[in-house]
Symmetry: D2
Subunit: 302 residues, 4 copies
């Protein structure tokens, strides 16, 4: 029987790198969770246990922390490009590298109405993410950058409908023309270039998505997601694909009629499970090939 | 052998009550996690299984949702007072009630620079809490309100020292005059009255604590906590006790010397476990008796 | 205004100590999560930032790991006694120490039907706990040991009733004579002595509690808890108090009638939140004073 | 600009279905977390909000609970096949369905040494999983079944080496010939048929993997994973591919030398983050096409 190894990658996940810039009294902070994954000619490590080609995951970790000083962390996209390029360029058996980064945002505290120089509270909203992939496996250098965020919890208390759906013998849902719509959005967008003002684009993409969510009279979460993705593609030529995954966090109108109380969409139970789950990709027709860009490391099999 | 039952309480934990105010196009939202616990003459339920005195926890749940409509949720403190008073006043065997509330804050999204009427994103920072206790067990009505927050993640990148400590044979820690200090603060403050502008006091207490954390040149997290609590007591005569629990979230200066790199407090590893844990109560000398106010429900035994 | 500091304690939480005994080819493993908390004359650290009396939490951590070698970990109770006694005996300003331990159980894997010498899988069930408190604050040495477990998830599919309860205007619950009863039990038991066969007692207490849960025809979770606690007190004279906290993990009979299906307690929805929460202490009438034994460290304020 | 929708799917995630079989006094229990995802001609829902083809996620939920009664849950694989086939066969616009199931195992409690008829404790170890995919999108019915488990926490205290690796300027790791190796394994295996004794194969696959982990003198986690996957393929002709993802849960030998203590691999610190992460697929050379089988629902974008 022939057995083939495929799709193997290895790395160091969840390096908690914090970088303080303190060249002036007004410090800056970057707070990251960094994962590295290397792909390449590692078959012998699997088949016979030969580590001769396996740069230790500990070394990958050291590199993450060292680069925070040597290269700095201007943006997570640039820092990820530095790391991925380094591994592919300098480590012989490595033909591909994937860097997955989460960034936790902080905001300066106000003291007497003034932003403090070196104290922050963590902004809890969405987590900014970046996936950077550099690949040499077919002899040609290719690079992908995917920006994104996870866990943007957003809710609208009206302006959402759901009706006109088909029914079968298991359908008891009542149609509605006014409901709460809430989600904890994961969004990722793929760039066709690395010449990007990463921070500015991030802010604008988030602004566009939030505005679409708020202003579209929604006939379904599907429609809202498509509108969010399309609006980003229309505004940002450097983005070629947007992927969205949105749990429908159900807010059920609570039945207060046993207590003689009317409840015109005022009191809700926020349920945990189950939840709807809506997912889609929206891409330009001329989007270049995504290659391995969408194959994750940390959640590869889960 | 004589066996005694004591400290029994029962209730419904984690009711996820969401209340939308939609009397005008500009909606308002209150998003709560509510727990109820009743104390009283319930011994027979334990000893012989007689439910004749046990108002079902399901009824407690229904009451939470019904009161969100009937009484409304102006503030979590007032809503909690309404619930606790109701249970003690109307349910015969109940001599005491405890209501524990967490409130998740939302902020309006901006669309074209303007706050939207009915769309919000969840502010992720601290969770506001309230514990309301009403007790009739000795024939006299007593009421306690404890305001608070949990999980305020705050960090200062300088202005913190730790030195001058004793050493023993297991001490290898080096003293430092400049370190990162970070915590995820839990704070609770006990009021001596219910005639309080709850929202205004909450905002001010948080502002005071944050300012103390930022501006005090700290010789230890202990000192910072004491300053935070004392400053609140000095500014708010209606508050008689402040309790604080602060994990010392260690940010270790990463050793970059093997790579020929200097690291003057610029690159850190944010470690998960273990962590220091510093706790204290700061109270007025003339604070009235706390009675059962500090005995929690959800974390009573954990 | 006079301000008083009280209840202060500090320590190192969640030290993840793993001890392998490898004196023979058949290894043994102890896998712990250890917290230390010291109480004593530390006021100056809070009020003026003087660390002269503050044994660093880092030192407490080092001691945990060093004692795993020096004293060993025969049982978590004995290891905790060693640590608590050490801190009170050898560190001058310390008048009290609290050690909180969780132990994760492992079981040997079977290879060809035989227990393997040095490979285990983690048993996921309940987590064994111990709280050890040594106190000298009034000049007399007192010691408390509390055994326990958390998160024993247990379910019975019949043999549980709930009826005969009072009703009010918010009561819509229907009485039942047959329901699923499930909980994730936290139990702690206080010893009056340290001369105990800790492992044997732990096993027996768990066995007794499980048997009571299984065999008692339950009229309420309250009754089941009381029976569990009482049975332990009756069988173990060295235990003087049992505390129990039990979420009522609701399994709702799913309404299949819209689909023309009968559902005689066969298909359930396991709901997350809210849940009932029932708590009580059962103690001997002649139980000695608990002192500070029940004041936790890690969950002191949460 | 042309914009294309792709990869869209929607469904109801995390239905917590519990099924009790009570035809005899000796009850049986199946405790599941079920997700459904449908693929097909849903473009109009995205582009113009037309729900005419969108079977509600609520209906999918109802079907999960109804099928627990109508079809029963003999195994999660069969139950998933019933659900997936139903959606593709009976709902017109649906051309593909994916069912993702987690099963929580319970074991009967012992009372006086005898297994109890209707009381269980949850076995906490690994969670058994199944992914069932039915696809008609190209006019031909294709079916895939993937068995698996997540979170099998397994540790060996010797029999693991790591040396012979390449070094660069960021490498400071020391080689070792004896270390603790621990992981929390996720494994999934793809079947080429649906005519399988699902429970028997599950048990045997787990047994094989555990035995390989225990007995192979490991030169790297990579080698161990490959051996585990290969051994499964060799023993089970009905399995054509095995995927494995294994965090290297680091157990660092604690440095006790400052305290004059030797530590020959006896005392460890179990670290949380970062962790190594090793992943690979092992497949037969003649494995049939996997189609969409490996594209997950719940973790599609995270």
């Amino acid at each position: 029987m022939g057995i083939t190894l495929s799709g193997d990658q290895y790395g160091k996940a969840e390096n908690r790198v914090v970088r303080i810039y303190r060249d002036t009294p007004r410090h800056e902070i970057r707070d990251l969770n960094v994962g590295t994954a290397l792909r390449g000619a590692f078959t012998e490590a699997y088949t016979v246990g030969d580590q001769g080609a396996v740069l230790p995951t500990d070394t990958q970790k050291q590199t993450c922390y060292a680069f925070a000083k040597e290269k700095g962390i201007a943006t997570i996209e640039q820092y990820g490009l530095d790391l991925a390029t380094h591994f592919v360029d300098t480590v012989d058996p490595v033909s591909g590298a994937r860097i997955e980064i989460e960034e936790y945002a902080w905001q300066r505290v106000l003291v007497d109405g003034t932003e403090h120089d070196h104290t922050w509270v963590r902004r809890g909203q969405e987590t900014r993410t970046a996936d950077i992939i550099v690949d040499d496996s077919d002899g040609t250098r290719r690079t992908w950058v995917i920006g994104g965020f996870s866990d943007l919890v957003i809710l609208k208390s009206t302006g959402s409908e759901f009706h006109g759906f088909p029914t079968d013998k298991y359908t008891i849902l009542e149609p509605t023309t006014d409901r709460v719509m809430a989600t904890s959005l994961v969004a990722k967008w793929r760039f066709s270039t690395v010449y990007v003002d990463w921070d500015a684009v991030y802010d604008d993409v988030k602004t566009i998505m939030v505005a679409q969510f708020a202003t579209l009279q929604s006939k379904a979460l599907q429609q809202t997601l498509f509108a969010m993705g399309s609006a980003v593609l229309e505004a940002h030529p450097e983005i070629v694909e947007v992927r969205l995954s949105a749990p429908n966090k159900h807010h059920f109108v609570y039945d207060l009629s046993p207590f003689g109380l009317d409840n015109p969409n005022e009191v809700f139970h926020a349920d945990d499970r189950p939840y709807g789950l809506i997912q889609a990709a929206v891409s330009r027709d001329d989007a270049p090939d995504a290659g391995p860009a969408w194959i994750p490391q940390r959640t590869w099999l889960t």
